[in-house]
Subunit: 348 residues, 3 copies
């Protein structure tokens, strides 16, 4: 429980109302109860403001007058709410110390105030910095490094030579540093594997969702830069670079040697893969379920995925799509015919 | 081994043939051997009925006369077979008791006849009801509840405050309750995380495949209702609701705040995600690899994914698709031209 | 560190230069330093040959004269490099022996020189052949068999009755043998599960990436043939057969009862699923993010996924696509009109 004043100080808001109002939890503007803190960050929800039962609302100056309860006034309510929300995160933590059911290699280096749960393995020459938290059943490979304050939830697997920055959070069952998919056929078409001798380097303040796979580089490292946020079930192929402060939503996959710029947004289910290396420039936003097969050099929004329709319509349209080039040629021909006609008409 | 009579009793079938026929295992109608029980549930397989080597076939009244072996007559052979098949499931179970290589918090509550494998962690205030089975390396977070008779296969991770109903089955490596993907940029484009303080609530008789990710809600719970069946590698974003008796096939993903109605079927690789909350009504069926970006209010079948063609054709058609709006405008213009011509023709 | 001669002997190359040149590591042709071995396998990189700082380059006869450093001459540089790369794979291995924090059933059979890490479970009647390596937190189900020299990285889950050939490599968090998605509704639309009593059979020299899911068969086994290579996050439904030496790239999913031929390549994010069994013939290549809903009987390249465009263009084109059948009909009508006109013109 916090007073409104404590929250205002943390997020840099000015208070309209009673600074001593007690805030017990977070709520959404439609369903909030007394004791809740909520926010108005999108005009979609403005209609709920006047009747909200929340004890306080984070909002901008222009919405203050419609607010019947206490208000915290800021310029960016969504961002302010994000900061305030951290105060209410009641996630239980692994206790400080090394659980005696874990297996720590004598050549591993473990910092201060580290939290290591049961059934964890830390291999030789790994370095676990101060204040790191490692959940149950994680595996930290040889020569890995985990920076100060980072959190690995349960069953995260780091292969050898994976380096993770400070204050990262890696959710359960993610796998970092498995072999990249380097495969080449021999004369008979039998497939041979190319050894993957690079590592993975992850910057500071990176968030990695559950069940991600981030492959090690073939020779150089696969790189995730500072501040990147990855949702669940994201796949990053070998030699990729994801630029700082980009976000990739759920189920998105990058083939090998894809570079994503800074401040990009890839929505869910996007696939980026070309026949060779492929680059997405800074500031690109790609819509959900889009296939990107070529580099994108200009910032902006892009999409490729078709819209759903009732299935009978879909069937007819998609059959036509398989003949679209012919349709276009027939259209060309008609235009030409008409043009000639009107030409001859004019001539006559 | 069961007699035909035992099976008939279990599934409510009438026997045409010898009730004492011994059934040893399940078989498919094409490959069945003596001792097998099979079924005829689809007209695609009717041609195999007269020659099947099975000892008995589950079928409808109208197929009895073409059946040369013993028959179990029912109205819905597929359903009857599903029920009979359970009698032959020989899956080895975790033995009753708590493996001494597990770590159970003293404040956890463990019911009767519970089966807990090795290297399992059960955190404080978790409740594991009677007859629950928990495979090796699972992690049950604080304050979770697992209802009577539910089964968690290996390495399932439940974050804190995940509540699971009765008779659920959760396959290996699924992660339930990881943080939802609530991310907001600051003034410089740096990405900030919104704390996710909701939980996950899963009804009774829910089946969750391997390597699913079901995120906890931002404020309220993410909800999976009774009888839902999820295939492998399904992703459910925060605040989603999946209505009772709906099924989501492999690799399907729901973005945040998606509501799926009851009795829906989402085929494989479907992506549902919009810019805001999005609702799919009851009784909707969505074809494989379809992108759904807007709410669907009418029951029925929908699809969006294009058909494959040989690649040279694909290239030409897809280049044309990037100019389809122009093609359509040119068609409009031609129609107008022709219309005017015939108009002037009629006028002259 | 190897001499050039040692490497040449291993990969069957002829040396142009000094056989005693010391090779310390692998490098890429653009960034290589002295001590590196690199290769020229694609004309895209030929421009870098003359200035490379590598100590040696694997290349074909026709590129020798442009090479300023030592050369290893072969007919297929990519394949030769793949073989040489194995010499530099410095992956740390699980030590020989059974870690005393593992749980091995007394009825399991463990071969010679087996490596089993901590927190591993091996169930009754499982057979682990000689030289097998099993990483931490793996679970080997009852009656599984793992062939000689195979490697399971961390947290791999094999359900019961999964048989794996020789020299396979299965990356972390993959799940093999979970229940296939056999679901059937009852009269009220409640979903019933069909027991999955088949197993999974995996051939020799198969590579399975991280976080794969390969479901057990409904009755017969799901089969992955010799030499198949699967990237990360691949899903294989029940009753599938993947033919020998085929490769499936990241995030690709096969629905139930799909047969893939031999020497096929499915690029990333492909989905193959039909209303019934579906067959892809030998030698088929399918482009990324393609939906395959029908059998493919001819070898060749196929694709279906649309191209990305700027979003405003996308919106207009995709709205048109939902009316493509109408556009095509209007085009038909125009052609007819024009045809009639020119007919009547000729007649007059």
């Amino acid at each position: 429980m916090y007073s409104l004043e404590e929250i205002a100080n943390r997020i840099g808001a000015s208070i309209v109302g009673d600074p001593s109002t007690a805030i017990e939890r977070l709520g959404s503007i439609m369903d909030a109860r007394p004791g809740d803190l909520t926010h108005l960050s999108s005009s979609h929800y403005r209609e709920f403001l006047k009747d909200t039962q929340a004890s306080a609302v984070i909002l901008t100056q222009k919405d203050v007058e419609d607010c019947q309860v206490d208000a915290l006034v800021v310029s960016n309510p969504m961002l302010a709410y994000a900061k305030a929300s951290q105060m209410f995160d009641d996630r239980p933590r692994v206790p400080i110390g090394i659980n005696d059911k874990s297996e720590i290699h004598p050549r591993a280096t473990i910092g201060e105030d580290v939290r290591i749960g049961p059934f964890v393995v830390v291999e030789a020459d790994a370095v676990v910095d101060n204040d790191v938290e490692i959940g149950a059943n994680c595996h930290i490979g040889a020569a890995c490094r985990i920076g100060e304050g980072s959190v690995l939830f349960g069953s995260v697997i780091l292969y050898h030579n994976v380096r993770i920055g400070k204050r990262c959070r890696i959710h359960a069952n993610s796998v970092i540093g498995a072999d990249g998919f380097g495969i080449t056929p021999d004369e008979e078409g039998k497939l041979n594997r190319v050894a993957q001798v690079g590592g993975v380097r992850i910057g500071d303040d990176v968030e990695i969702g559950a069940s991600n796979t981030i492959d090690r580089g073939a020779i150089k490292d696969t790189v995730i830069e500072d501040g990147v946020k990855l949702d669940d079930q994201v796949h990053i192929g070998h030699n990729c670079v994801v630029g700082s402060h980009s976000m990739l939503c759920g189920c998105t996959g990058l083939g090998g040697s894809v570079s994503i710029g800074r401040h990009c947004v890839l929505a869910g289910g996007v696939g980026v893969a070309g026949s060779g290396p492929l680059e997405i420039s800074d500031g690109v936003q790609i819509g959900a379920m889009t296939y990107v097969s070529r580099s994108i050099k200009e910032p902006g929004q892009y999409q490729g995925s078709p819209l759903h329709t009732p299935i009978s319509k879909w069937r007819r349209n998609m059959m036509r799509l398989t003949e679209l080039d012919n349709l276009a040629k027939r259209l060309n021909k008609l235009e030409k015919q008409l043009d000639e006609k009107s030409q001859s008409h004019n001539d006559s």
